[in-house]
């Protein structure tokens, strides 16, 4: 029983972490920017999800539509990426340290933006996942909502894979990531690709935030707490690699669930000791490529 709960908790946090880090990897892979704002957009999606669902129920919407409403709220909230990209664009030609700092400036601004809109008190949704009840399979029972989120995240992973590997636009994205100057020479509008990728990355983050919210509170600590977990995933998996995001998220998800059960308090330490160990053995992560 305990192991099943642990497994599910691990997969659930892995599913959410994957969404956010997939966004980080996409942006890094194409734009070579490590986006610290990912934590802030994640929290933005969470708060936005709470408000959107409250509004929806107030208008007489059925709570059974929790998951689709949150998904949609996440997608809408993710459009904030347009604004961030528009400002970030100014420093594309600059040293990457400045680009990183620019995203840190957004972290600071978002912190107060969230506080201004939603206040300093954490926001919770109440016991909503229970509307979905619990399902039993293989002699175990677990909350349907959590299982649905795991499935949802898997579907998004598949769609992402199909988009990048199989569609013409995906080919263009990969070409831009591989060699930007050459892609431009062949007529690719890299400005639009940058915009597309950044907004897509931001949508992945806000969807992750919106989906997690029925199980936890939206708070102002969310952005900085998520960033340290997401960074761990990215470093373990390898910067810029989607497969790395998937495996990294699973590893960190399990570490998190294990240490929360057996050694609370050292959760982050356990995760980061693995991070350092991976870096010592494989400096560019499990699936990363060395960057010249």
């Amino acid at each position: 029983m305990a192991t099943a709960d642990l497994l599910l908790a691990a997969l659930f946090s892995a599913a959410v972490l994957f969404l956010v880090t997939a966004g980080l990897q996409l942006v890094f892979g194409v734009q070579r920017i490590v986006n610290l704002t990912a934590g802030s957009t994640y929290a933005f999606g969470a708060y936005f999800g709470v408000s959107a669902f409250e509004w929806f129920v107030l208008r007489g919407g059925s709570p059974v539509l929790l998951l689709p409403v949150l998904l949609l709220a996440g997608i809408i909230a993710g459009q904030i990426g347009f604004v961030i990209e528009r400002v970030l664009r100014i420093v594309y030609a600059r040293d990457e340290a400045f680009q990183l700092l620019m995203t840190f400036a957004f972290v600071l601004m978002f912190q107060d933006l969230l506080r201004y809109i939603w206040g300093a008190q954490p926001r919770i949704m109440g016991d909503l996942p229970s509307v979905y009840g619990r399902i039993s399979a293989f002699g175990l029972t677990f909350p349907t909502y959590n299982a649905a989120v795991i499935v949802c995240s898997l579907v998004i992973a598949l769609v992402l894979w199909w988009f990048i590997e199989k569609t013409p636009l995906g080919h263009i994205v990969r070409a831009t990531a591989e060699n930007k100057a050459m892609a431009e020479a062949l007529g690719v509008d890299t400005k639009r690709i940058n915009m597309l990728i950044f907004v897509l990355g931001s949508v992945l983050g806000t969807v992750g935030g919106a989906l997690v919210i029925p199980t936890t509170a939206a708070s102002l600590e969310m952005p900085s707490a998520l960033i340290i977990e997401a960074f761990a995933v990215v470093v373990i998996g390898g910067l810029g690699s989607m497969r790395g995001a998937l495996f990294g998220a699973i590893i960190v998800g399990f570490l998190r669930a294990l240490s929360l059960t057996y050694f609370p308090e050292i959760e982050i330490m356990a995760i980061y000791i693995v991070v350092v160990a991976v870096l010592v053995v494989r400096p560019y992560g499990l699936f990363g490529k060395p960057i010249a």
Binding site: A97, F106, Q111, D112, R115, I291
Partner: protein
């Protein structure tokens, strides 16, 4: 010549500050010195060495906890001994962590330093018997050169003897840094930042150059953190959180990256600005974030760069 006049004017200002401004602002000046000393080190690493650390708050916290722990747990009240322990512990930690970190540059360096910073942060949380966990530890007033100054109130101590002590410390460390960045070592570091491969071909051991900058920057940060702890009167794990590392980088960029006076100008501007903003609005982080964005876009060399430009035009 100009630089000498500037330094003269600065020293003169610091000499009269305790006598003309209110005690509250005089204590703010101690915060400014604390940040300045830490940033002198960070400037060596990031400004002159091009290595952006997102973990240096860890070393400031080591300095702060050295002072706190020695005072409360071990009964060592001498600030000189506390500083020595801060230097030794941060230096040793940096010497160990640095072995791994300096093998990387750019974003990998930033992420690795962030990783170590977070490990230290959770260490402070976990070992609460020693570190007081989440609430941290209180920092007792240290003795300066063996003198306890027991009769003075906290403010009187801070703006009196402690002020002069910190001022002397700052001037010494500033002079040391000025010598260092203009020495052959400093030039090698800057050459490494601008073109590592070429610098290596010229026979500069670039890993060693980075390693030294890493250790020295950590020691400067620890001394800054030690001063900060005495002025606040407490040390808690938040000092080591990654956003704090981001903040000190912000202050450096605000002042002027790779500018000798950048740390000082940045600390003055940041401390004053934060004081004004926090008194007037609870949304001061937004203002600081917007300011950081503006500085990055319009003034890559920070306030020092702006001042130099304005000064140059007038002549």
């Amino acid at each position: 010549m100009n630089r000498l006049i500037l330094i003269g004017a600065f020293v003169a200002t610091t000499l009269i500050i305790p006598f003309v401004v209110s005690p509250y602002y005089a204590t703010l000046v101690i915060t400014i010195f604390a940040y300045s000393i830490a940033l002198l080190g960070l400037n060596l690493l990031f400004g002159y060495g091009g290595l952006l650390s997102l973990g240096h708050a860890m070393f400031m916290a080591m300095g702060a906890y050295s002072v706190g722990l020695l005072g409360t747990k071990f009964g060592v009240r001498s600030f000189e001994v506390q500083l020595l322990v801060a230097v030794a512990s941060s230096g040793a930690a940096a010497a160990l962590i640095g072995l791994l970190c300096v093998r990387y540059t750019t974003i990998f360096f930033s992420m690795l330093t962030l990783a170590f910073g977070m490990i230290f942060h959770s260490f402070l949380f976990k070992f609460y018997e020693l570190t007081g966990g989440e609430t941290g530890i209180s920092v007792l007033r240290p003795t300066l050169l063996g003198m306890p100054f027991a009769k003075l109130s906290k403010t009187a101590f801070l703006i009196g003897p402690f002020y002069w002590y910190v001022l002397a410390l700052f001037l010494g460390m500033f002079a040391l840094m000025a010598l260092m960045v203009n020495s052959p070592y400093g030039l090698a570091l800057q050459a490494m930042r601008d073109n590592p491969r070429k610098t290596e071909f010229l026979g500069v051991p670039i890993l060693k150059v980075r390693y030294v900058a890493f250790v020295i920057s950590a020691i400067y940060c620890a001394i800054g953190g030690a001063i900060m702890a005495v002025s606040i009167g407490a040390a808690d794990p938040e000092l080591a959180f990654w956003t704090q590392s981001g903040n000190i980088v912000f202050i450096l960029v605000l002042g002027g990256l790779g500018q000798l006076f950048g740390p000082l100008v940045g600390s003055v501007a940041f401390t004053m600005l934060q004081d004004v903003l926090m008194a007037n609005t609870q949304y001061w982080r937004f203002a600081l974030g917007a300011l950081l964005a503006l500085i990055i876009i319009f003034a890559p060399l920070g306030l020092v760069g702006l001042l130099v430009r304005a000064f140059g035009k007038r002549r």
